[in-house]
Symmetry: C2
Subunit: 544 residues, 2 copies
Amino acid sequence: MRIVLAQLNPTVGDLAGNSSKIVDALAGARSLGAELVLFPELALCGYPPEDLLLLDGFVSEIEARLQDVIDASGGLAVVVGMARREGEALYNSAAVIEDGKLLGYQDKTLLPTYDVFDEQRYFRSAGQRRLWELAGKRVAVTVCEDIWQQAGKVPGGRYLMDPIEDYAALKPELLLNLSASPYSVGQLRVREEICRHTARALGCPVVLCNQVGANDSLIFDGSSLYVDASGELDVRGPSFEEKLIYVDTDTEQNPQYPSVDGNREIYDALVLGVRDYFRKQGFEKACLGLSGGIDSAVVACIATEALGADNVVAVAMPSRYSSPESLEDAEQLAQALGIELREIPIEGPFQSYLDLLEPQWVGRDADLTEENLQSRVRGMILMALSNKFGWLVLTTGNKSELAMGYATLYGDMCGALGVLADVAKYNVYGLARIANTHKKCVPERIFDKPPSAELRFDQRDTDSLPDYEILDTVVEQYLEEGQTPEAIANTYGFDLMLVRDLVRRLHRSEYKRQQYPAGLRVTSKAFTKGWRFPIVQSWSEGSS
Amino acid sequence: MRIVLAQLNPTVGDLAGNSSKIVDALAGARSLGAELVLFPELALCGYPPEDLLLLDGFVSEIEARLQDVIDASGGLAVVVGMARREGEALYNSAAVIEDGKLLGYQDKTLLPTYDVFDEQRYFRSAGQRRLWELAGKRVAVTVCEDIWQQAGKVPGGRYLMDPIEDYAALKPELLLNLSASPYSVGQLRVREEICRHTARALGCPVVLCNQVGANDSLIFDGSSLYVDASGELDVRGPSFEEKLIYVDTDTEQNPQYPSVDGNREIYDALVLGVRDYFRKQGFEKACLGLSGGIDSAVVACIATEALGADNVVAVAMPSRYSSPESLEDAEQLAQALGIELREIPIEGPFQSYLDLLEPQWVGRDADLTEENLQSRVRGMILMALSNKFGWLVLTTGNKSELAMGYATLYGDMCGALGVLADVAKYNVYGLARIANTHKKCVPERIFDKPPSAELRFDQRDTDSLPDYEILDTVVEQYLEEGQTPEAIANTYGFDLMLVRDLVRRLHRSEYKRQQYPAGLRVTSKAFTKGWRFPIVQSWSEGSS
């Protein structure tokens, strides 16, 4: 069968825009010679629509827009993701269309309700599964999670049934899967395994079309797949871009797209995350504080690639504690990127706060208060530029800092989007190397100097934190692998008291994270999406 | 049967503290002559534990703590809420205990996954329902939502089965319900109706024990219930306090507790919300900006009642635009409450920012930038005091402002807890009247003057917002009743363009709300919990 996988980038809730994108894709697919066109999950409304689904009129408008797609489907079989209502229930569905006629709906059976997913908040599970006769073949239509249970890729014991077992009895000749599966490191390989497993289980080819594009914290990579009946990967579509991917299941000559390595993949994901956050809201220009450190350097590189050099304004905000090297490094980076650099020293407002407030605490030593004041003056300067010029502030903190609360609320935590919120410090260096691939932008000195917030004389991150190698390992194992402090200390030979202390500190800073901006997600467990812990709780104080 | 409803206030995750509270309650119940003691849902871990449930060791520690309860149950029947694991699945369960022996578990059947609830994220639904022989009676044990479906009080079409139908066939002589049902206006009456409905459906008495206490945004009121077999309300326990409530189902002489009116109820809820946020984290002292307006006046009153006058520091931060009356009113209020008032004028830092930044935007008019700067200077002053002295900042904005984004990120939105985050402006005045009941604290002039942020000369809220009567009606109807702009305009005779514009503005300020502190919930739909909308979406721009 000649199939086009329409790997599209919808905007959440833009029903007119998304349906016209779908109609355009049908025309494109026709000119490529397609018999069947497959779209992502919930393509008509974009994923995840969240509580928009509960607004009166939203789902009925989706159903109305489906008619545009049906009308444009002449000569084609089309399978497109949408939400629909039947009686009092909503379904996450695939509309199955052929040559101008709606054949029916295949509803999603397995509704993920874990990590970043809340589908049981909205949808009812499919009552039945059947095959569809499309372009002369008996076709199974599945939606995302429906094929994950059989492949053993969902948290244990979650579902009491498995749609693939039903399909095995029906003996399909082809299985289609509509996905909106967000990016995280390693996820491309997981999806590939699932498709291969499904193809082998059913003895038929599997074609998966995944959403591309970023919506708030979630980045969807596309990377749509075609696996043949023997379970061999024939095609993986490009990542992080829209594409009509042509696949012919009757021939072995299918197109190939380049794959990317670990850090490049993360880098491309973040570029798309920044670009879509701005583009989908109609913003053009970003500003950020450029400290001369590695984090803001990498954010400047990503923003420049995402928005163009003319749309990024870097602001150096030196203080009495800043080293001259930091300013030089910031200047060198801005010049290499071709972005504007403004220098706004914070001494004036900082001293003004000290003059005002020191009478309030006569006789007390300087402490975090004075450090936070400096960080907050910087945040206020960026927000003032944002307010005056309509730029969005990019937040530059990394995941390691966010884990420890080693960041100032209303200071360096200010902004619209946390670009590195899910990137551990160690990986930030890797991303800087990627940024330097084609042209050396990030000065070597930034890689070499020990990380410092420069909020007091001779400060080093290691004054307050363990080495990032230890910290990043603990955070990764605790978040992504669900390991206890005891298990982590054992496996890596870390001091148990240290690991317990880091975990306590991690939970104690929950109040800060809950006021963090939207933050791009690139790992299997991000703080900014899919992490739901109480602020007020005692468990982590004692037992963990 | 002689029953004690142990209406307790657990701390989330404090398994040792909660189990010892439960053991103490057993002793208390024994001395009251109880045959059976009923506890709230998930009493051993506190509700809602959120992703603590997924941490390795958390559920097994709950199961271990259950033994303390079993050991202390000599001579009593005990039904206590807990989480338990069976194979790979977790259950939200009631442990049924008699005289030192665990008889078994009744798992929860209906798992709410809407609004503030995420139970299908964690739990599997009960496989079966049975009766228990306790103190000589055949007893049905249900957990919270289990009795809501039959009474028609859950969002339509959500559950495919109804536990009460099963129980009807089993003919129980008594139904117990363990609840963790959060407070919102009107909710006490809803729970009463549900119990009456259930009692009539089964022809047996219904006894419901509800959690009391606040956990982050959610406030639990307690207000436990006993309804006799004819569906008459016999007892409603006190609201917003811990209590062992003695009920005898064989006699008509049961104790009565006073009920409270609408605004008093909300006021008491907020006092508990503030008190528990501090107490459960070990904080004592709060500070807040006292502007001379109604919002901060009410927060000062609530904080004083919750924490004591010695533990509240009010800070007046006048600017070049503040009226002398505002400062006088703040002083009068602070004096009446007996709280410390510090006066810290913001002119110094404000002018210092203007000196620094005006060269950045030569030739541009003053706009929101300069207004936000003032609000942010105030936020920074409060945060500096918080950092230096270990006080928590109370956020004073109301729900109407939060709906419109009529608030400054990192300015008046700073803080640890949004006390009025779910109270519409109109209701803030009602709460001020409650605060003045015993002693006139809030000066009359604060009620009379038109609301103003005082961030420029002669500013009024109505320069930027419609009258609060219109705004509050639109917000309430849109959030709590799920009405479309068209329906709201029709029902209330408002201009449709105005209503649409308010709804657009409401959604456009989502980015601000997602950085708001935890905010106490007192209505059926709060922005700070149970409201999940994307920041980047187009639906509200066009269609709503």
